[in-house]
Amino acid sequence: MRFLALITILMVGGLLFYGTPDFPAWGDPESPASLHVSPYYIEHAVEDTAVPNIVTAVLADYRGYDTMFETAVIFSAGIACLFLLRIYRRKSTTTRLYRHNLTGITLRIAKGGKLPEGSAEFERIDSLWVPYDMIIKVTSRLVVPFVQLFALYVIAHGHHSPGGGFQGGVIFGAAIILYAISNDLRRAFRRLNEKAALLASAAGVLLYAGTGLMCLLLGGNFLDYSKLADLLYTDAIMARSHGILIVEIGVGLAVMAVMVSLYYNLSSAGRHDEGL
Amino acid sequence: MDTLISVKPLIAVLVSLLAIPLIGFSRSPNVREGWTFLAAVIKFALVASMLPAVLHGKEIICQVVEVLPGLSLAFRVDAFGMLFALVASFLWIITSAYSIGYMRGLDEHAQTRYFCFFAVSLSAAIGVAFSANLLTMYLFYEMLSLATYPLVTHHQDEEARTSGRKYLLYTVGASIGLVLPAMLVTYHFTGNLDFSPQGVLAGTASRGTVALLLFMFVFGFAKAAVMPLHSWLPAAMVAPTPVSALLHAVAVVKVGVFSIVRVITGIFGTDMLQAFDLSTPLLFVASTTILVGSFIALSQDNLKRMLAFSTIAQLSYIVLGAAMLSPKGVTGGMVHIAMHAFGKITLFFCAGAIFVATGKKNISEMTGIGRRMPVTMTAFFIGALSIIGMPPCGGFLSKWTLVLGALEADQIAILAVLLFSSLLNAAYFMPVVYRAFFCPPEDALFEARVQEAPLFCVVPLAITAVISLVLLVYPQPFMQLAVMSAAKVTGL
């Protein structure tokens, strides 16, 4: 196997190596790639879309269609994990464990017994329950809101600084994942349950695609935000800017929800119990 | 050349296909066979209705759909196709009647399937007869191979399975492996696969290529059972006798030789083959098949196997006739399609009738059977005479024409083959007849009490026997059709 691997990578390496001497030097501003399409973006992005961050402008407008599918990719990854891993009907365990939060007493409730579901004093635990660390719990509780706020900033400020829907969405998702790690999955579900995460991911992409469809209904091509001008009471250029914001929000929502849902499924191997 | 445009050929082909749902979903056997008969009669009537036009030298054309640029699914009825279609569609009626007697007499299973695929086979056979180009012919040729598979393997036992394998391997295998590439190479050279009187290949390919293509076609149409691709035919005798009768005396094997003759005359053209001097190897192959087939037939005890080897030999007469490339030879070959069909089907019917009535398959067990089944054995005698080529039967006529053709082509060796093989034919048929009628009473295995097969069996075989006789006196329209098309293809 090693030998085969060696041969293969030597062949691939040779193939890649073959073209490299003809590459333009690194950082050459006169390289063909820098002379054809990208100058257009740099020179016209602001006047076309009123977005100074050219990457955002290209991402969400000029090549917005790519980005929509990119969101769809992440969405399908989320659905794929759910589809592959989720275990819906577990073999009904005969007993369930509940822990009394104040005293730390664990109850074992046999099948058919009365379950203290919904009671604030009890929480359901797994047999491999590990006591929580107070320091981690409190620190994360402190950090999470700021992370979330920062995430919103990154989404909203994508027009002017590095950032945008993906980055912000990931940060927001990370905040929720941090919460889930520092507590456990069951608690995280209380904040954002599985269905809500799914709904949010679908709604996020749908917001993107729906904006595109709206442009189509208003007489433009798919995703041509300038046609939203009448709806948003602005001119065509600002409509593009706003359109970009709308889709960035959609992307953020979808990415956040998918990240969370990926974590839910991967960390508990689809059982949606206590998790890690 | 006058041409008529008509959908009749298409309908004639489709009639039996359209009857299949009716046959398949019939509730009672009587209704089912009723539909079969009706389809057969309509088919024959359609074919026959085109006969006058063809006899007046017209051709009937029907283009269905252009499947490839410049290549259509198209039908064209000319004299040669008409000859074959007439024989096949007429004998379908007779065989249907015989099938009823045979299948019911033996209480066979899956009779509905049997009648359905029989109808498909007939469609395919008529399709081959009426094809206007090689592609259409290939299509129906393959259809015939596949449709007859369930018929050959009707008994669904181990033996049927082995034979079915052999059957498919030879017929479909050869057609995919040899005919298809040959056809494509031809198409590459000519851009056209229509049958035309002087061929389409002339002047486009070298002698070597033509020779290669010719042999790919001749062996590729393995249904013609040209040696060495002949051994499927004896194996296919496991089929119920009506199948052997119609398909392996008429439809399937004749489709094979029909295709070969068509290709020789319509694709290569007699002139080109003559110019390239390719008739000798063809004649050699055909003669070998005739002689070897006859010798093997001599050694058979199983009646149907003997008939099968006899068929192998007889089929090559037709190839032989076409390979002579002379008008008389081609005429003889073509007429032999009809003559052999009537003669051989009579023989198969007889073999089946014997089996139904007595359960006997081997010649050695048939001593004295003439006393028990006089009608059947008389018919057998007539059929045998026809195959041997003795007056007063139709077979004489075709063999005589072939002999004339051999003289015309100055092929004395072929003359010798023809005469010697007739001798061999006599040598393997006459003992059967002798054994049946003239054995000493003390050797007879049967009592002298007449007990024939069911009427549905006996009447058809009597009819075909009588026709075999009549054909000598009145060989029309077959003779005329053969003469017409031979004149056309040889240009004389």
Partner: protein, 132 residues
């Protein structure tokens, strides 16, 4: 010799990306542990990102965000040469997302494999399959 060295140095990140692709592929083929293979796969994808981002670079230029863009200073002030090329960055945002998504699905499948065979070593999995 000198030009060779200069050539090498002028394109060093292209050489680096080729090296990364080779390392990643080696891991994917030679390693017998599924997670290591997944890591190798990720290395390959990251190498591609390095390659693309290298195309965008212009020596000494800044990121493609136009300062004070919303104050109407006039577009003629913007010179394409002053900013690095934005397009490869956009493309690579997509590629990153794709590689994350692939990673997620690969991990999910690895979990399924683990659930089924109790191991992620290919040799042991092969043994388990033999046993069945």
């Amino acid at each position: 010799m000198e030009s060779l060295l200069a050539n090498f140095l002028a394109k060093y990140n292209y050489w680096a990306y080729i090296g990364l692709v080779m390392i990643g592929m080696y891991a994917m083929i030679a390693k017998r542990n599924l997670v290591k293979k997944i890591i190798g796969m990720n290395i390959v994808q990251t190498a591609v990102i390095l390659f693309y981002v290298s195309i965008a670079a212009k020596k000494g230029k800044t990121i493609p965000i136009i300062a004070h863009g919303h104050e109407d200073t006039g577009h003629h002030a913007v010179q394409a040469l002053d900013y690095i090329s934005p397009l490869p960055h956009v493309l690579m945002l997509t590629a990153i997302v794709v590689s994350v998504a692939t990673l997620g699905v690969a991990l999910a499948l690895a979990i399924k494999v683990y659930r089924q065979y109790g191991t992620l070593e290919e040799d042991e999995i092969a043994m388990r399959i033999e046993e069945q």
